[in-house]
Each structure stands twice: as structure tokens, then as C-alpha cells.
Amino acid sequence: MQYWIIQTLNSLALGGLLFLLAAGFSLIFGLMRIANLTHGSLYMLGAYVGVTILKFVPNLWLAALIGGAVIAVFGGLIERFILRALAGNALGQVLVTLGISFIVADFCLIVWGGDPIPVQTPLALQQPLRIGGVAFPTYRLVVLAIAVVTAIVLYVLMERTRIGAMIRAGVDDMPMARAVGIPVSKLFTAVFCLGAGLAGAGGIIGGPIMSAYPGLDADMLPLALIVVILGGIGSLLGAFVGSFVIGAIYTFGTALLPDLAYVILFLPMIVVIAFRPRGLFGRRTV
């Protein structure tokens, strides 16, 4: 009983972290038609930057805000100075993000070394929550809550505000959006910063669960890719549902069949691609 509760919470927490990563990835792909392969690296960079910030600011949440902002600025710089130079060359843009991801990965290795760096769980959340004799790991519940709140905020932003309407217009039909005077170019930068910031903050918030280690980027990027393929590109709801599905499959797969966890991951993706290539909630085929 206790074991299954912990596994379930693990899967929900991983799903929440995946959502922070995949939501930005999905929006960036949907709006800019860029498969941003630095996204896993931004997550890892966020985790490492968070480790450093925590040395000066002994509060994880403050560190996540600061770190998220740092990574958002970094993402904005990539978008403004590199991706912008390759406008219209989608393959070139993807290859550049791949190149940057190698640079970031090696940079992290130089600066923070090759050993995993654990991140302390905030003291107030270290005690498990006891309800009816069953212990719930508090921090994982908090991560889940953060993801749900983020999802709601993003939903309101996308569906209920003017900026959200402009982004949706850009996702659906960019030339037409430009033609009616929507500043698509500024939205690009804003969405890229937002996505990068979410990924970076996700890395820090995920720190107490996953710690910061070399290869974190390569572990997270495929999960985000599968989430987005599963949920549908540019769809927030798709990213949300996909994240928790993949989080659950990965966690229970690792627990039950540790050898083949990665193979199991790929089954839902095949089913979805075979029957619904645009993903569960996608509006456009990839």
C-alpha cells in the first residue's frame, strides 16, 4: 500500500516536472515551428544554476524564480541572436539548437563537474504528510500542486487574455496573424523566454527529486519529445495530459520492469502516431 502510494506520487511529481518542460517545448514548436533541442539542456542548466543560487539564497522557491529568470534571459538571447539569424530555415534552426545543447552540456560539465549534486528538500517539506497511518511525501505533493497551478495560469494566459489569443492565432495560421497586425516576431521572443524560464525553473524545482547530474538533459529531452508527440504540438492540454501519462508509464515501468522502461515508453507513442498522427489534442499534423 505504502509502496504504491509513493510510486503514484513519484509518477505525479515526474508528470508535473515534465509538464513544466513540455509546455514550453510545445508552445515554442507550435508557434515558431522550431523543435527546440536545447530544451533538455535548459532544464539541466536550470538545475545547476539553482544549485549555485542556493549557496547564496537559502530558499528553493526564490532560487527557482531567480534561476527561471536567468534561463529565460538566456533563452531570449538564443532566440534573438542566433535563431533570428536563421529565420525561415527550420532545419538550420533545429541544428543550431542541437549544437547549443552540446555546448551547454559541456559547459555544465566544466563548471559543475561530473558528480551528481544533490539538492536539499526545503526543511518544512521534509516530513511526510501522515493521513490515516499512511505517509505521503510532502515535497512531491507540492511539485504536483505547482504544476497544476502553472497549468491553470498558462491556460488562463492562453485562453482568456489578448496575448494568448495572439499566440493561438500565430499557432493556427502565422501568415494570416501577421497580416492582421499581430506582432508575431515579439511573441516569438516572449514565448521562447517563457518556455526557457519554465524549463529552467522546472530543473530547480525538480532538484530535490532528481538532483543535478550530467546527462540530465539527455534523460529529460526524449521524455519531453514523447509527451509532445503524444499530446499534440502547440496544445497546452495535450502537454498536460501527455506529461502525466508519460510520468506514470515511466515511473511504473521503471518500478515493475526496470530493464525495459524505455521500451514501454514508446508503446503509447506508436499507438497515437498510428491512429492519430497529430497527437491526442493537436490541431495540426506535425
Binding site: 523543435a35 533541442l37 541544428l95 526496470p258 522502461a261 524505455y262
Partner: protein, 310 residues
């Protein structure tokens, strides 16, 4: 005449290399051959099919792992493992192609990347089969017709022969009517479809063919190293091949060969001085995509044509 003379000089130079160069250079050239087959097979998809794959390491790694696993755990000889590994890898390519080609463009790129990451993760995690991070070691090189490949020179000739056959067959593929149809699907898929060509099948056949030659390079790779590690299945390995194709010039025959040679030389020479190969590769990637997007071979050809026209 001059064209033939050039070929003869090239052939004589390649054949004479083990006599004039030291073992280090012979081995380096063998590695370049392997990388060249690998990049050329990827070029069929990227250059001629317009299908950017970021999962090509699957074929190299899968064939290498299958061959290694069958000889270590099943105790089979090379006469059995080589064809079985090629066949099994090609069958997996049939399946992966079927899945990935549900999409084109960046969707295709993401799906190939996700699929290859699944194989990579499996190689890391399925320790009972793959020995995980330790990799599979204790392998041998085959001895075709009793000809031992253990010396650097004999492996060099073996790799050279395989490379010549592979490049020739890939060139034939591209030059054939099918190759013309493939280029048609790259440039004008809708028109090709309207003309009655089955665009999806053309792409799928190319995917499988490309996977087959990737598997051939994988066998050479595992014979050369006598060792296989999950890193060969990683995104870095796929990216190196893609970088070779793009650096050399995608959609040309010589491009990927030149590109693979450049990458291999960079990797060997630079890693002797700097530890940061990944970072350097990242920078090369960024610089090439921004400044020489057409690749070195078409770029050089353009300069040559301009010089001739002077």
C-alpha cells in the same frame, strides 16, 4: 581522360596507404571509411529525400549490439551473426520507418530522435542483455575466407572494399529512376503524388535502404573497436553523422564522405589537445549552419567554378 586519371590516382593512393603511412594513420583512415558509410547512408534520407533524421545512430548501434550480443551470449560465429544482425536491423528499420514517416519535416526529426533515444535508454538500462554502461567487450574481428583482419592493414583493406561497394551501391541507388523519383518527392511531393508516384512508399524504401547501410557501418564499427557502448546509440552519435552530412554538403555524393573525414580528423586531432570534443562539435555545428549552410563540397565547387570562369 583527366577524369579517369583522377580516379586512378585516388585508387592507387588508397591502395598504397598502408605501405607509406604508419599504423596510426591506417587506423584513422579505416575509421574515416566507417564514418563515411554511416554519413553517406544518412545522406540518402537527409540530402536526397529531404527527411532530416536525428536517429541514425539507431542503425549503427543496433547492428553492432546485435552482432556483439549474438557472438557473446549465443556463441555464434561471424558467418551467422553478420547476416542476422543486418537482417534484424533492417527489419527494425522497416518498423521505425513506418512509424516515423507518419510525419515529415520536423515531426519526422522528432520521432526519429525519440525512437533512437528509446534504443539508447534500453541499451543503458537492460543490463542483463547489454551490460549497461560497461558495454559489451571481448569481441573478435571476423576472418572472411580465412583472412585475418587483426592487423591494421588487413582491416584497412577490408573496410576499403566494403566502403567502395557501399558507396557504389548508394550512388547507383541515387542515379537510378527510383533515385530521381526520390528527389522528386523531396522537391515537389504533391506534384509527384499527382503524377501517380507513391510518395510514402518511396520514402519508406529509402528509409529502410538507408538503415541497411547504417547497419553495415555498424558491423564495421564493432569489428574495428571490438567493443560497443551505449554512447554509440546516443544523440551525439546521430548528431556527428548529421554534422558530417551537412558540413560536407547534403545531397551530393562526395559531401558526406568529405564531411565525415573532416569530423573524424577534428575529433582525433583536437581531442588529443583539448578534452572538450562535445563543446567543439557544438560550435562547429553552429558555425557551419550559420556560415556554410550549403556544406564544404558545394561551397568549394562553387569557388572552383568561379575560378575556372575567370
Amino acid at each position: 581522360m583527366t577524369k579517369w586519371a583522377r580516379w586512378i590516382v585516388l585508387a592507387a593512393g588508397l591502395a598504397a596507404l598502408p605501405w607509406v603511412a604508419g599504423e596510426y594513420y591506417v587506423n584513422l583512415t579505416s575509421q574515416i571509411f566507417i564514418a563515411a558509410i554511416f554519413a553517406a547512408s544518412l545522406n540518402l534520407l537527409v540530402g536526397y529525400g529531404g527527411l532530416p533524421s536525428l536517429g541514425h545512430a539507431s542503425w549503427l548501434g543496433l547492428a553492432a549490439y546485435l552482432s556483439a550480443w549474438m557472438s557473446l551470449k549465443l556463441g555464434l560465429g561471424h558467418w551467422a551473426t553478420a547476416p542476422a544482425a543486418l537482417l534484424a536491423t533492417t527489419l527494425v528499420a522497416c518498423a521505425f520507418g513506418w512509424i516515423s514517416l507518419r510525419a515529415t519535416g520536423l515531426g519526422f526529426l522528432m520521432i526519429t530522435l525519440a525512437l533512437s533515444q528509446v534504443l539508447w535508454g534500453t541499451a543503458y538500462r537492460w543490463v542483463s542483455v547489454t551490460d549497461g554502461d560497461n558495454g559489451l567487450r571481448g569481441l573478435t574481428r571476423p576472418a572472411p575466407f580465412g583472412w585475418s583482419l587483426d592487423s591494421a592493414a588487413s582491416f584497412y583493406y577490408f573496410a576499403l572494399a566494403v566502403t567502395v561497394v557501399a558507396i557504389f551501391l548508394m550512388a547507383m541507388f541515387v542515379a537510378s529512376p527510383f533515385g530521381a523519383a526520390l528527389r522528386g518527392t523531396r522537391d515537389q511531393p504533391r506534384r509527384m503524388s499527382a503524377l501517380g508516384h507513391d510518395v510514402w512508399t518511396i520514402r519508406w524504401v529509402t528509409f529502410v535502404y538507408s538503415g541497411f547501410w547504417g547497419a553495415v557501418s555498424g558491423l564495421l564499427f564493432v569489428y574495428y573497436n571490438k567493443y560497443i557502448h551505449p554512447a554509440s546509440l546516443s544523440i551525439t552519435s546521430s548528431a556527428e553523422a548529421l554534422l558530417g552530412v551537412i558540413a560536407g554538403g547534403s545531397g551530393t555524393l562526395a559531401g558526406p564522405i568529405v564531411g565525415a573525414a573532416i569530423i573524424m580528423l577534428l575529433k582525433n586531432y583536437v581531442s588529443a589537445y583539448v578534452e572538450r570534443w562535445n563543446m567543439l562539435m557544438g560550435f562547429v555545428f553552429v558555425l557551419i549552419v550559420i556560415f556554410v549552410p550549403e556544406g564544404v563540397v558545394p561551397g568549394a565547387r562553387r569557388l572552383w567554378a568561379r575560378w575556372r570562369a575567370r
